[in-house]
């Protein structure tokens, strides 16, 4: 069986929807700007590619039982992107999407009761979702004081639970977005919650294709959602030295000689994946086929990618082999391209090792929308789907002077008309997770 994508939805720093997303990528503009979702003036990093405030507010977690739920931005992003994808696939009504009306009463489902009227296929649909870290709610931690008596806090929480009352949270559950998706859309199949950091979104799509291929599921809602643009997320990445120190819209410049780090991003991309024959039988339109995927681990260091890119090479080769392709069959490669000094050189070396002398057009979209962490791979695969559909590839926003150590055909900012039949997307995660996925025109 062949897995095809029949629905796609995106919430990105360019706004809601695939049109805003891909037009933004192809415009050469960067969505990196001063942070507005919290006061980051005192932080070492004060810019990021945020989902526009109006969009984020529109898609706050529906039925949030507390401010904490609503503060986990990735929940609302996932719901909104999923609604777009499911509507395009004809599995939910293409109405206004998830309600933002807050629930006022506690309930067994924690305010995430089913709301969307959906297709019967959703009752057995699997969920394969790339998720980021829990969102730590520092203010809630802080009110507990200098010394936290955990026994007392547990006793309070127990009493509150028995009374059906809400209590402050210290962090959101890691799987909150998955719970929301399952409840809201009535997904009744198995779930696979990928936590492989920046590779999670791509891993989720690969997993979905595998589920279809081996007959484990007939319909899979998959993708990635994340936001680490919060005090601990942003601060932690800055302390790691991963972020660009420059408060500028071109903070992220993938493959550029003067690149100096990543810019944080956020958002979600969700896909409906089905068996090609089943999709055809029900009259759904296939947007692209997922034909190859491969994953490997660097097994090198916690703090740096394997400098020779050997494990990244193996991931791309595994994807090619699975798709039954040779390197010359590909027309475009969407790079992980974080804009950090170490990643881009290692990835360029890996690309050269697989594809030989520079020929294959390569670009990274992180200069435009920042690094959306667990959602990054999904957003990049969404860009690949749209590139196949529109026969144009987005360039590398922020790239001005190619680093000679990055010997790739890096597309400059803007839109690039190309004949695209087969494309590959790389995603490499902190901790050494490498994932490569190949999409082909349907």
């Amino acid at each position: 069986m062949t897995a095809v994508i029949t629905g796609l939805g995106v919430i990105s720093p360019f706004g809601a929807g695939v049109t805003a997303f891909f037009d933004g990528l192809c415009s050469g503009r960067s969505a990196v700007a001063p942070i507005t979702s919290f006061d980051a003036a005192s932080f070492p990093v004060s810019v990021a590619a945020e989902v526009p405030a109006a969009t984020a507010e529109r898609w706050r977690a529906p039925g949030a039982v507390s401010d904490a739920h609503a503060r986990d931005r990735k929940v609302g992003f996932a719901l909104a992107a999923a609604h777009q994808a499911l509507a395009q696939a004809g599995l939910v009504d293409a109405g206004p999407g998830p309600s933002t009306a807050p629930s006022t009463a506690p309930s067994p489902a924690h305010g995430l009761e089913p709301r969307a009227g959906g297709h019967a296929a959703l009752a057995a649909a699997a969920l394969s979702l790339g998720l980021g870290l829990e969102t730590a709610l520092l203010e809630d931690f802080a009110v507990l004081g200098d010394h936290i008596d955990w026994d007392t806090e547990r006793a309070r929480a127990l009493a509150a639970h028995a009374a059906g009352e809400r209590t402050p949270r210290l962090r959101t559950p890691a799987d909150l977005a998955a719970r929301a998706l399952r409840a809201h859309f009535g997904l009744g199949g198995p779930q696979y919650l990928h936590m492989s950091a920046c590779a999670a979104g791509a891993a989720a799509l690969a997993c979905a294709a595998s589920l279809i291929e081996r007959g484990r599921a007939r319909t899979v809602l998959c993708g990635g959602t994340d936001s680490m643009i919060n005090p601990l997320g942003l601060g932690g990445m800055a302390r790691l030295g991963a972020t660009s120190p420059r408060a500028a819209s071109d903070a992220c410049r993938p493959f550029d000689l003067h690149r100096d780090g990543l810019a944080m991003g956020e958002g979600a991309a969700m896909f409906v994946v089905e068996d090609a024959a089943a999709a055809r039988d029900r009259g759904a339109t296939a947007l692209a086929a997922i034909t190859g995927w491969g994953s490997t681990q660097d097994a090198y260091k916690a703090t740096a990618p394997r400098p020779d890119g050997a494990a990244a090479v193996a991931a791309m080769q595994r994807a090619l082999q699975r798709a039954g392709l040779v390197p010359g069959d590909l027309d475009y490669l969407n790079a992980h391209g974080t804009g950090t000094p170490l990643n881009d050189v290692a990835e360029a070396q890996a690309i050269a090792a697989v594809f030989g002398p520079p020929r294959l057009p390569v670009s990274s979209i992180k200069g435009a929308i920042g690094h959306a962490m667990a959602a990054a791979g999904a957003l990049e695969l969404a860009a690949c789907v749209l590139a196949l559909a529109q026969q144009r590839a987005p360039g590398t926003t922020g790239l001005r002077e190619l680093d000679p150590l990055c010997a790739v055909v890096a597309l400059p900012p803007g839109a690039h008309p190309l004949r695209l039949r087969r494309v590959l997307s790389n995603s490499f995660g902190f901790g050494g997770h490498n994932a490569s996925v190949i999409l082909e025109a349907a």
């Binding site: 005192s42 127990l158 198995p190 696979y192 932690g236 490997t296 901790g431």
Partner: protein, 329 residues
């Protein structure tokens, strides 16, 4: 890497950090790994301990192509580090974001991030053991761990790798996690909180090869099926015995069950020919509970037992079963 015939998968070795035995901080005090400790959360240490034991049993000569599939739980970082950050972020009127940005982050050890990120529960094991093949790290509170096993089986059966480690590590006693679960579920008297890890070393076997000798212990168990049903809303009701893949004559081992789920299981298992249903008394180690039960059940199964279904039920109401068959390929 792709093979025409899906291959069977056999359990080669087991490794555990057992919650019922003392799991001291001396687990990794010797050897070069001690330098890695400062980057590792408690769960990451437990994961590595279990993986190292499984690898010792498997005695694989080369891990370059070996897969690693693990379920992990919530972030379990060192709270002393967080306390220091919050203390430094206190102004005259308490915590402020401005103070956090100015002072709090300065006292934050950058390496704290590697304890904080859930995926590093697995990543440290890859780094320390050198497994470089296919991988997945999946979130779980119990039944979700079966998804990690399912992914491992898919990779092994398809031929993406010939060998793989699969398991989970987690802690339900981390203060923040414990508090979070109290908020969601209240007190669960029938499942005291614990911590632990368990890892199975799995190998794909050629379906054309002859059957192994029966009754030779864990190394001769094969994984026949993995089936589960998620908890939470919407839960479609109790899974049937057939949906869980449990055969009529399987020995059944239950663990981690709640009273309501146990009642559903009793219904689901009613009418079986085989009466053997054992209940394991394991602490609730969240993601790690299921592989701890697999390891326990396989280790204790008598030589006369040829098919074994280990049933997991988690706090969210999820139920799943892994069916092990001895010597059948």
């Amino acid at each position: 890497m792709s093979t025409a015939t899906p291959r069977a998968v056999e359990v080669v070795a087991l490794g555990c950090a057992d919650p019922r035995a003392p799991i001291g901080d001396d687990v990794m005090r010797s050897g070069p790994e001690r330098m890695a400790l400062r980057l590792m959360s408690r769960s990451a240490v437990l994961a590595y301990h279990a993986a190292r034991e499984a690898l010792a049993g498997a005695a694989w000569p080369d891990l370059t192509e070996a897969g690693l599939f693990m379920a992990v739980g919530a972030s379990g970082s060192d709270l002393e580090q967080l306390r220091r950050i919050l203390l430094a972020s206190q102004g005259e009127r308490g915590f402020t974001l401005a103070r956090f940005g100015e002072q709090g982050l300065r006292v934050c050890n950058p390496l704290f991030a590697f304890q904080l990120m859930n995926n590093f529960t697995m990543a440290h094991t890859a780094i320390l053991t050198g497994t470089r093949g296919p991988n997945a790290v999946l979130f779980s509170r119990g039944v979700g761990t079966l998804a990690a096993l399912d992914e491992a089986l898919a990779a092994l059966r398809h031929g993406d790798c010939a060998r793989a480690l699969v398991g989970a590590a987690d802690s339900a006693v981390h203060p923040v996690t414990a508090l979070e679960h109290t908020r969601w579920h209240g007190e669960l008297a029938d499942a005291p909180a614990g911590e632990g890890a368990a890892v199975l070393a799995l190998a794909a076997v050629d379906p054309r090869a002859g059957a192994p000798e029966p009754g030779a212990g864990p190394s001769r168990w094969h994984i026949a099926s993995v089936e589960w049903s998620e908890g939470g809303a919407p839960r479609p009701g109790a899974p049937s015995r057939a949906a869980l893949g449990i055969a009529d004559d399987d020995a059944v081992v239950l663990h981690g069950w709640r009273a309501d789920v146990a009642a559903e299981l009793a219904t689901a298992l009613a009418g079986r020919a085989a009466p053997a249903v054992s209940v394991l008394s394991l602490p609730d180690c969240l993601a790690a509970t299921a592989p701890l039960a697999w390891a326990e059940a396989l280790s204790r199964a008598p030589a006369t037992c040829h098919a074994l279904a280990v049933v997991t039920a988690d706090r969210d109401g999820g139920v799943g079963a892994v069916r092990f068959v001895r010597g059948a390929r």
